[in-house]
Subunit: 416 residues, 2 copies
Amino acid sequence: MKSDLDAIMQASNLDALLVVGHAEYNPPMYFFTGGGHVSHATLIKKRGEGAVLFHGDMERDEATKSGLKLIPYSKYDFDDLLQKANKDAALANAMRYEAMFKDVGVTSGRVGVYGTYDVGSVFGMLNALQKLMPEIEFIGEARENSVFMKAMETKDEADVARIRKMGKITTEVVGLVRDYLTNCDVRDDEVLLKEDGTPLTVGDVHSKIRLWVAERGAELPSGFIFAQGRDAGVPHSAGTPTDLMRLGQTIVFDIYPAESGGGYYYDFTRTWSLGYATPEAQELYDQVKEIFDKLNDNFDLNAPFRNYQQMTCEYFESKGHKTPLNTKAPQEGYVHSLGHGVGLNIHERPFSGFTAGDDHRLAPGVIITSEPGLYYPEKGMGFRIEDTLWVRPDGRIETLAEYPYDFVLPMKKWKK
Amino acid sequence: MKSDLDAIMQASNLDALLVVGHAEYNPPMYFFTGGGHVSHATLIKKRGEGAVLFHGDMERDEATKSGLKLIPYSKYDFDDLLQKANKDAALANAMRYEAMFKDVGVTSGRVGVYGTYDVGSVFGMLNALQKLMPEIEFIGEARENSVFMKAMETKDEADVARIRKMGKITTEVVGLVRDYLTNCDVRDDEVLLKEDGTPLTVGDVHSKIRLWVAERGAELPSGFIFAQGRDAGVPHSAGTPTDLMRLGQTIVFDIYPAESGGGYYYDFTRTWSLGYATPEAQELYDQVKEIFDKLNDNFDLNAPFRNYQQMTCEYFESKGHKTPLNTKAPQEGYVHSLGHGVGLNIHERPFSGFTAGDDHRLAPGVIITSEPGLYYPEKGMGFRIEDTLWVRPDGRIETLAEYPYDFVLPMKKWKK
């Protein structure tokens, strides 16, 4: 939570934070600004003090919405700096940063650097700034353990309400897709047909998903997954748009809509088979569902998240599948980790992989995904079930958006 | 153009390029990959050789679409590196990069660093990598003059066709918004009404714009502008969603849809006044239109872009407005620069500001915006007209999507 930030800075021995980049689609900046169209913002926060947002003059209205203390870039005469820097733009930029740091009273100590932005220009600027301000040590923290990832790890009730709302939109859209698919006519060769009698493609379904999410005012990162058959067997294959939709194929449908402007995400997956399922697919689905349920029964407040990766691997290995427990980077079987935190980042702390530290725990206030899966691209099938769960302060684990777990979706106008 | 890259690298004395970040929404990476859902990609290109794309195993299908030479991260045993690095994740990451650089044959020389990504983790990794590979000098170029911005500056016919297609979508949506607005009922107090008889808000119009762009398979960055009255007078104010739509107010409508996944943009602005315009607004609009037309008549192949900023400032000053020519960071009058290149970045070379170098020219193959405007927030009005123009190889300047320049839009169900 934001209120933890000063304590986390202290624990990480950081005296100030520098955040660069857009106020939107940039989690560390959004964490302070709450979004807004401020394109080339800079934020400096001294430990124990409020953050100061630097912004272009044309974007003063958008910057004001943040409620932060503002300083417009026009305070610093860039043309003049450019002259002083002998037309070296990187140096002039560093000189402007020097003036900005001085204006907020940061002239020494350890300063962490954050934000999603053009890495090259920031690297060049910091190298020049380091020479201008030798008393400051600029720190590039590994993302997973940065002060922001730690401060974002636990959510307050207002954050949870926003994520829950994204969950509601997610399950509404999933329900619409389900209704649309199960109402389709089916050709003799088991291909689904659109209203106009032509075959329904995976790309058609992608378009509908995008539209239905947009209609609800949310945004859908383009990597969402609605993948059939072999593509379902490759965890991050988005699906082949030209593929025709068919009965009896596994469909992995993994979507993670976000608030407009780069706010909170929800993460959700179901696996479906239209009309019927092959016995082998049904058996594998049942295994995924069994461990999914077992995990829900076993999640415990404050337990290390990776314990459940261990439980999942052991379960799947007992059923004869490869897993990361005893196979390096398996390409089939259970090939990923169990889940991750969800918030302003689609993937954030706590993490569940075997290399995640002991401090990645189901602490009160974290929001995680649980997403066991099985992948057999050579067999043309894949499976994943995923909900987003809130570890409530009272220790109860709550699914933030309920949705049924049916695997076979009966077709309204088709019978086996 | 991509074919210029090796020559530009040579001119900038760079032996290799390192690009980090997602394959989408990341122009330098997209320039090579053409998009695709590869989340944590790394690309290394040695001068004179093809680029190599490093990717996670789960994203191998998406990575394959790039057509580049691929190496999966699983080739490098991160757990092992983490042990060797004594659990220092930044060092282990740097050791992985060291192995990757060695695998593509880069062990010395000047290496430029690019990409939109978490700046802190890259800064930390590069500092560690610099110690492991002291024979390499890592370079952070200022964005405006980076090799990528130079290579992207001119477009080939295929690029132009894609931008033109975005222009068609843009003007279709602008036409739909115009039709929707002019068909509204109007209340006695000149507020527009929705179909259900309640007032139409700026936010309602924003939603329609988002939806109509999404229906056409394009993406609309959330900073698009549909702003009325005072907000129209602040160039980058996106508009206040709760404001009611009214007759006789200036409306600045600036949208820049992009291809899905972070591809090519189109940039476009019109200024409207519904039903009628005040005489003062009409006069100011006419001035903007006059210089807009004059610019179109004067754009010359290979002329420095900033010459037209000069022309625009001189024109507006002759009409009594403040401009950057003689006022530092004016808050009213003509407050910005004339235009910018458009491509995989919404703002790219060539630039037109007075600090832009002499090499920012209307060279054959560049695509620019021309967008003069006037801003009077205290008077509650603002104006901007913008088209996206292609400097054709034959020297002709072509507007890539034609759309009328009417200022006053007559209302179908209302008369003054």
